[in-house]
Amino acid sequence: MQPHDGAWGEATALFERFRRGVWIDAVLLIGVIGLVFGLASLAGEWRTLRPAVHIDLALSALPTYTFYSLMRGLIAYAFSLLFTLTYGYWAAKDPVAERILVPLLDILQSIPVLGFMPGVVLALVSLFPTSNVGLELASVLMIFTGQAWNMTFSFYHSLRSIPKDQIEAATIYRFDWWQKLKWLELPFSTIGLVWNSMMSMAGGWFFLMITESFVLGDKDFRLPGIGSYMNVAVAKGDVRAMLWAIFAMIMMIVILDQLLWRPVVVWAQKFRVEEGSDEQTSSSWFYDWLRRSSIIDWLGSAIAALRRRFGNQDQPAHPPEEKPVGSGSSILSLVLFVILVIVLLFGSWRLMLLLGQLPVRGYLPIFGACGWTLGRVLLSTALGTLWTLPAGLAIGLSQRLSRIFQPIVQIAASFPAPMLFPLVIALLKAAGVSLGWGSVVLMLLGTQWYILFNVIAGASAIPSDLGEAARSYRLSRWLRFRFLYLPAVFPYLVTGWVTAAGGAWNASIVAEFVTFKGQVLTANGLGAQISLAAEHADFPRLGACVIVMAAVVVTFNRTVWKRLYGLAESRFSLSK
């Protein structure tokens, strides 16, 4: 199995398109952030309080909570998929819009979305002051922001990398846009989309945990779900309930994998493009079972009958006339494009108004805090590399270890780290570690898997003759590592770093500011500043913090990571 190849493709795709002006980035950045805050403040005040949700710690209640959480994840995924298909298609098909849409997507995925959570939650709750609907929407929206971007990038990238011959064939045989989509574009993007969906779903749990157990100062925004169950269990010190919650989460991941992703992956094999000699096909008992059962056959023939009955609506009875390509569609895309630009401008304007309320002096502590958080992000990435590099190499280079550890690593990577935060904080407190250092551990908890994932993928992609050559020349273990393994996995390592660092920035918002047994612990950092500003409903400061964080993340991507990517591609790529 290689879900990581997709990730590597995506990340490279992302860095391919960097030859654009800094000002575009800046404008987009300001536009997006301003827009969110604009909407948040439009929604007005949030004085009306909903009744707090009561969480029942009884074991019998746990399945229901787990089901709620699962549904939130799936609903958010449905939205992500819808967004992916429309946004990715638009970006790939409309060269004018593409110039805004692709950088915009890039900015969106660089922004630490958790910074927006307080604003979004408050806004949506105030829209539905008496029910949970606003909170549910906020939860789905936050999960969506954790899922959508990389799926969209994957789809866009697939659409753009369809071989020229295939496109020409579709054109010469006069496929209409729907036939092109159905027979060429969707099948061609399926594999990338499936792998990225799996990763997105895993990333989504992280946000689910946080939104479900969201408490802002003395205001309780919790939702009934597995995240709040864990939260309450920790608060009450109920170890049995904690263990059950963790078990339930793992079960949810495993069941989802077995009943949804595995069958989909096996089904997606038929969309392989390369001529597969090495049949590394994965198998799925559930898929086999579905195929053998007669229900599917019955369903299939029922659908076919329906289609015959209602005539094939998807094709005209007469040959399509030659018509000038896309006059109607180009007007539509122009209108959408103008709306997009107006919306972004509106956002920028709102943000300017908001930021104007914060005195220039107010920025100093923000920049200081940003330095601390940057340090923590880098430290957690370095620490993660320290153990995952040897471990990943060991696993990736050995077929036996791969077989044993891959599933475990996958579950561990899907497991939402925030669920474990309360436990880890308790341990850290007992050991007398301050949150300043402790928050590094919390970040590490969620992000190390990305590095491990990628190292394993890189190690298993090393051609075996390179390893055999190194052994035949009697290179010592250290020399083999330096001359072969490290350079060979370097491109994968960079991908892992980018993902891990991005995750760590996000995590800083919840890791530097924690409420533990009614007591608030903070570390000096930008994440804590964001949480603090949100707690005091200090929107100008919140806006300033988020824009500083987003700017730092984007700048860091453009300079450090981009350069490392360049190095990885030109020097350490095994495919050239």
Partner: protein, 410 residues
């Protein structure tokens, strides 16, 4: 073009396809023959000129044609039948008709029994059969074929050519005509009625050869072989004029560097030496299993270095060439270096580097020189070749990371 100007790829091309004929576009790689095919199909809009179909100017896709692609361009996720039916559905045919027509097309190309197979289960030849079936299914008036057999093994290709001619032959049914693109001289002599020979840089019609050999044709007949030889001569005459290249270079024109690796040039010289100093260029291509166009590029490179001479279709080892081949490794490098220094481009770069204080310069400065000297060439490729050749002759050293070119003391 990277330096801002537009590259003229094609010039004064006038191609007519009449009913019931097979027209072939023949030429070396990069002469734009596939581009011509795509312009005629309406896939590419030319910056100048127009496409007429039955005397009518057709904007957009040209009606009445289907294309068979070099890379097959099949949908790997569809079965043989589905691949054909998709095209018919796009043409707006009702399901029953689709089924009948697809079945017929599949049977016509001899794929009956494989209806439910996926393309990945088929061999290269069978894949192209499917490509042909797909094209035929929409009953095209003209069948376009873009190097249709170059991804198919030689034996299979031989059979397929004959079958395509059989499909075309009945004059009362479609496809009425075939337009094919090829670099294989024997192939076009076997298949085409009219052979349009193109030259490259920019692509032009070199000449048009009418092929009146009676059908069915025999590839081994004396008439066929005579025509093959004749076409060989036209192409080599066009691409390798009988004026020594070095002489041209001395006449102050800066020569483009054919994109070749030094080992290819040395391999050619070794081969010629083993053959007693000369061989026919087509023999070389056949014996080494290289595409003819590739051998021609290598020959041009060797000629530029004055290692070979090319009277007509022959490649002859020169005195310098013989001296080089028989020399030891170190001496070879010295000869190579001396030959390089006879070329203007190397002289200029050498002089420029010698003037610099540290005898080195950034790669971009050298690329700049290449652009100025050879505005028509792809400067990256020329630079790349320059570095390869200079490295072998210990003339210049080049550090890839720093993009830094410097003189190397011999």
């Amino acid at each position: 073009m990277p330096n801002g100007s537009r590259l003229r790829v094609l010039e004064d091309i006038n191609v007519a396809i009449k009913p019931s004929e097979v027209v072939a576009l023949l030429g070396p790689s990069g002469c734009g023959k596939s581009t011509i095919l795509r312009i005629l199909a309406g896939l590419i809009r030319p910056s100048q000129g127009q496409v007429l179909y039955h005397g009518r100017d057709v904007p957009g896709l040209t009606p009445g044609i289907a294309i068979v692609f070099q890379s097959f361009a099949l949908y790997p996720w569809m079965t043989v039948t589905q691949n054909v039916e998709a095209v018919l559905q796009a043409a707006g045919l009702p399901p029953d008709e689709r089924r009948t027509l697809a079945e017929k097309a599949i049977r016509t190309v001899g794929l009956a029994g494989f209806e439910e197979a996926y393309p990945r289960e088929l061999s290269g030849g069978m894949k192209q059969r499917l490509g042909i079936a797909r094209a035929l299914s929409i009953n095209p008036e003209i069948l376009f074929m873009d190097e249709p057999f170059s991804h198919v093994d030689a034996l299979t290709a031989e059979g397929l050519r004959a079958e395509v001619i059989d499909l075309w032959e009945p004059h009362d049914s479609n496809p009425s005509s075939i337009l094919m693109v090829s670099h294989d001289i024997k192939e076009v002599v076997y298949m085409a009625d009219r052979i349009i020979v193109l030259s490259s840089n920019p692509g032009r019609v070199r000449t048009i050869v009418e092929n009146t050999l009676p059908r069915p044709r025999d590839q081994r007949s004396r008439e066929s072989e005579a025509l093959v030889d004749y076409l060989h001569e036209i192409i080599t005459g066009a691409e390798m004029p009988d004026v020594p290249a070095a002489a041209v270079a001395r006449a102050s024109r800066i020569e483009a560097l054919p994109r070749t690796d030094t080992s290819d040039v040395i391999g050619l010289l070794e081969y010629l030496d083993a053959k007693g100093g000369m061989d026919d260029i087509f023999e070389v291509a056949a014996a080494t299993g290289h595409e003819f166009g590739h051998i021609m590029v290598i020959t041009k490179a060797a000629e530029l270095l004055n290692f070979v001479d090319t009277p007509k279709q022959d490649i002859v080892l020169t005195a310098d060439g013989r001296r080089f081949v028989r020399a030891e490794a170190q001496e070879r490098k010295a000869i190579w270096r001396a030959q390089l220094l006879k070329l203007r481009l190397f002289q200029d770069v050498h002089a420029m580097l010698a003037q610099r204080p540290d005898h080195g310069a950034g790669g971009d400065l050298v690329r700049e020189m290449v652009i100025l000297a050879l505005p028509r060439e792809n400067y990256e490729e020329v630079f790349d070749t320059l570095v390869r050749w200079a490295r072998f002759g210990n003339l210049f050293a080049y550090e890839d990371d720093a993009d830094w070119l410097s003189l190397q003391e011999s």
